[in-house]
């Protein structure tokens, strides 16, 4: 009895019962079951019928691109600054610039850890809930995308590299590849020297499982210094 009174007072409180009737007519959020009550009100309201939204359809949904879509991918990771410029051309179109292509890049941080991964045998540090050092850009009329990042570190078994995935504008994969880094005296790789890890146990391109079968087309040009930062550039052909 007490509950019934409570419900009744609620209905009176909600301006008028006709509001409820209107609401029930176009109820969009009603659960499946409806049981009529024995109340004497003529509104025909039911106890299990949720009232339709009486506010605007907030929040106004607006298109937001994936959070991968960004040029600066550092996300707070520290290291020597690295600008990555990738130019994509179409091998099926006289090697002309490929505009409108989506280019994803991702690489490890100065310690050799990837975001999205971790807590497992190959990477002890758990970074499964962060997305640092991953980004996506769309190629311009010249086929160029530019990213701001840090010079990657390295991890056991691999030479320093940057992953690249090129898609057409519909998201269909055109090419999955990796960028290799020049080695030897005077190179950026030698200047960075593996950050705090050093180069002991480093895997060079010649013995790297991915690059050892030839990496001439995957080798980037890198200029700069540890103080001024480095600039990496590479041009690649993909069949589009």
């Amino acid at each position: 009895m007490e509950r019934k009174n409570f419900l009744k007072s609620l209905m009176v409180g909600a301006v008028s019962t006709s509001v409820l009737v209107e609401a029930c007519k176009k109820d969009t959020t009603s659960p499946t079951t409806t049981t009529t009550t024995s109340t004497s009100t003529s509104s025909g309201s039911t106890t299990s019928c949720s009232v339709i939204e009486t506010e605007t359809e907030g929040p106004y949904p607006t298109h937001t691109p994936a959070s991968y879509v960004r040029s600066d991918i550092t996300d707070g990771r520290t290291g020597y600054a690295l600008t990555v410029k990738i130019t994509v051309n179409n091998s099926n179109n006289s090697c002309n610039a490929l505009s409108g292509a989506l280019v994803d890049i991702w690489h490890c941080d100065a310690e050799g850890n990837y975001s999205e991964y971790g807590g497992s045998g190959t990477q002890a540090t758990n970074y499964t809930t962060v997305h640092f050092l991953r980004g996506r850009q769309t190629t311009d009329a010249n086929g160029l995308v530019t990213f701001t990042s840090i010079f990657p570190g390295w991890y056991t078994g691999r030479a320093t590299h940057i992953h690249v995935h090129v898609y057409n504008s519909a998201g269909t994969s055109l090419k999955v590849t990796q960028i290799a880094f020049p080695e030897g005296t005077g190179t950026a790789l030698a200047a960075v020297a593996g950050y705090t890890k050093g180069m002991t146990g480093y895997t060079y391109n010649a013995t790297d499982g991915v690059f050892s079968d030839g990496y001439a087309l995957e080798l980037a040009t890198i200029t700069g210094s540890t103080t001024a930062g480095f600039a990496l550039s590479i041009s690649m052909s993909v069949p589009a």
Partner: protein, 170 residues
């Protein structure tokens, strides 16, 4: 009357039949990202469905985490208020701070197979009473004195809303 502290989970399922604008945007964005990310795992195999990739390709369980950044911007548009779940005067009232993105089913070649869920986990609520089919709840503020007057909400448990955690207050 015993007071119980609960948290709720609302599992919002979105598929090709999505009618609301937000749902449609999440459907499109998550499918585009699924297609893009899944190709990193399907390369060199004949598998195109999410289920097959999970079963046969090592590390494919990472796909859901890789797709999530495509929809986080949309979740942020809710400004920490759970969508769809209304109190008895028709307003959204549940606050959430955590969500989890889930791929239920999908296929690189078949958009109609794409089905995802966003799980919203609410902040703690004090469950005061049950009035007919409605729960009477208020925000749980540990420091507040129980005897004080507080704002409350009446709402009905509905499909895809679960009481996720429960704790009895002494």
């Amino acid at each position: 009357m015993s007071n119980r502290v609960i948290t709720l989970c609302y599992r919002k399922i979105i598929d090709i039949n999505a009618a609301k604008q937000w749902d449609k945007l999440v459907f499109e964005a998550s499918y585009m990202e699924f297609k893009m990310q899944a190709q990193n795992y399907s390369g060199g195999t004949a598998f195109t469905s999410y289920a097959d990739l999970l079963r046969h390709v090592p590390n494919a369980q990472a796909i859901a985490g890789m797709v999530m950044p495509a929809i986080t911007g949309y979740v942020q548009q809710f400004a920490n208020i759970v969508p769809d779940i209304l109190n008895n005067v028709g307003k959204r009232f549940l606050k959430f701070n955590r969500f989890q993105f889930e791929i239920i089913n999908s296929d690189i070649l078949d958009k109609t197979k794409h089905q995802v869920a966003v799980n919203f986990y609410t902040d703690s609520l004090l469950w005061h009473d049950t009035v007919d089919n409605f729960l009477l709840v208020s925000d749980h503020k540990p420091a507040a004195i129980i005897d004080e007057e507080m704002l409350s909400n009446l709402f009905q448990l509905q499909p895809y809303v679960n009481i996720h955690t429960i704790k009895n207050l002494q």
